[in-house]
């Protein structure tokens, strides 16, 4: 219903309800466990640090796994033919023959011979400038691009190439890719293990904090017991505080981690031409965790908050089970 069609009485009752609701909020009942009785500062700090470390680990894991898949696809797009030098071999003609042979195969989209200048640059770090390739028996390369969508059968390709050019060796970079992927997987697994340890440490910290809060509020718990409160009701009184502490800690830790990623990301973008940034770029691609990374950190923050509340609830219920009917009013 549009506002203009509302009858005056309907508008008034809505306002009454709203005022009543606001009034209610203003005079909320005193919490049964006062916030001051739950030592929060240290716990918030610990949770913030834990969330910060967990977020960094999570972001790092995502960065490595993204980088690994990008290395993999970049490498899988290219293979190399190596022509080994031999006495009396006309290198230029052999290179041209190898190029022509490979281009004729299905799944190959292009092939280019690495020219003298490029080969010289490649060897420059080891052999210095002004290298004369004719004087030195150096293997030469043909860079072959392949169709990622329909990659050729490498074994068949290798056989056919060697039939035509016996000096040619086909390198599909498989061994290198396998090693990279194995390394990246190891890093991801280690990251996940660290994440698990950090979360476990957070849970244990909350267990200790909850036990501390419970013994500090023993009198309140006893009173609640003898006025007939259910264990769930008592647990809810503590859970409320711990959810808040958990969320505040997790939000600050998560926010700090986001800032770190944003700053490093901006720094690498701003210093793209410098060697340091190039090093980072070579390793991680663009140092940005992307939307999925930000979403993962937000999810982590929510998880830590919920985990804190849940842990404190379970701790309270278990502790209550241990003290009830033994001596809730021990003097």
């Amino acid at each position: 219903m549009a506002m203009s069609e509302m009858s005056p009485s309907a508008g008034r009752s809505l306002r009454d309800r709203l005022e009543k609701w606001i009034g209610r909020r203003g005079e909320r009942p005193t919490p049964i466990v006062p916030p001051a009785n739950v030592a929060g500062q240290a716990l918030v700090t610990v949770i913030a640090i834990m969330t910060f470390l967990a977020s960094l680990t999570l972001g790092g894991v995502m960065l490595v796994s993204d980088a690994a898949s990008s290395w993999q696809s970049q490498i899988a797009r290219e293979i190399t033919i190596q022509i080994m030098p031999a006495d009396g071999l006309d290198m230029a003609a052999t290179l041209a023959r190898a190029r022509a042979a490979i281009l004729a195969q299905p799944g190959v989209t292009g092939a280019s011979v690495m020219d003298d200048a490029a080969t010289g640059r490649l060897l420059e770090p080891w052999l210095g400038e002004g290298l004369d390739l004719d004087e030195l028996p150096v293997p030469r390369l043909v860079i072959v691009s392949i169709d990622e969508g329909a990659p050729p059968d490498f074994a068949a390709l290798r056989t056919r190439l060697q039939a035509e050019v016996p000096q040619a060796r086909l390198d599909d970079h498989r061994a290198f890719v396998d090693r990279l992927v194995a390394m990246a997987q190891a890093v991801v697994l280690a990251g996940l293990a660290i994440l698990g340890l950090v979360l476990a440490a957070t849970v244990l910290t909350v267990v200790f904090a909850t036990r501390g809060a419970m013994s500090g509020n023993r009198q309140i718990i006893e009173v609640l017991h003898f006025v007939g409160a259910q264990a769930g009701f008592i647990a809810a009184q503590f859970q409320r505080h711990f959810l808040k502490l958990g969320l505040v800690g997790a939000l600050s830790g998560g926010a700090a981690a986001l800032v770190v990623f944003a700053v490093v990301g901006t720094w690498t973008r701003a210093n793209e031409a410098t060697p340091e940034a190039d090093q980072i770029r070579a390793l991680f691609g663009s140092f940005a965790i992307g939307w999925s990374g930000y979403a993962a950190i937000v999810a982590l923050v929510a998880t830590v908050g919920a985990l804190t509340a849940l842990t404190s609830r379970m701790t309270v219920v278990r502790q209550l089970a241990a003290i009830d009917m033994i001596s809730p009013v021990e003097s």
Binding site: P29, Q219, V223, F226, V227, G228, A231, M325, I326
Partner: protein
Amino acid sequence: MIRFENVGLRYDMGPEVLRDLSFEIQKKSFQFLTGPSGAGKSSLLRMLFLALKPTRGLITVLGRDVATLSRADLPSIRRRIGVVFQDFRLLDHMTTYENVALPLRVRGRSEDSYRQDVVDLIQWVGLGERLHAYPVVLSGGEKQRAAIARALIDRPDVLLADEPTGNVDPPLARRLLRLFMELNRSGTAVVIATHDLGLMEQVEARRMVLSDGRLAVYD
């Protein structure tokens, strides 16, 4: 209503502090529980309000055998038993009104449904002026009355009071006693643990006397 049969209690491996207790608290009855300090009054009270399990014997509370109760059953039974402690056990961060309303809040009732009842009861125990005062500014007698009001707010079937006149002067003690009797006339069974002989002499009531861990009942 509450029935003890050959109940014994010992703490850990120590000697029995209570031996062979057999008695019954009848509906709408009024009794004093007395005995010298250390005779086991507090332990007996704790068994009465389900804070302690006996080491032997049978306790039946409101028709249920205590030995067979699960933890989940305890709150619903405790809600029918009002308890007044010697040291009041009011929550310091709550006003008189909030302390007295606590049992109803714990039951999940909305404040609108009980606000007037709580105010009426607080006025009945004579604390109308102290509705919004915190325990720290209340006198011993005022705290005692707030604790009594809290025990009574949900009209329990039985009221257990531990030395309810221990912290008050004789005129106030008489007033509190009248309050308990009025409550008893309205149908609540009352057990008052005290070693104040003067108080007991004011009322013709059943006396349960604990001595050396054994109980003698004088009707």
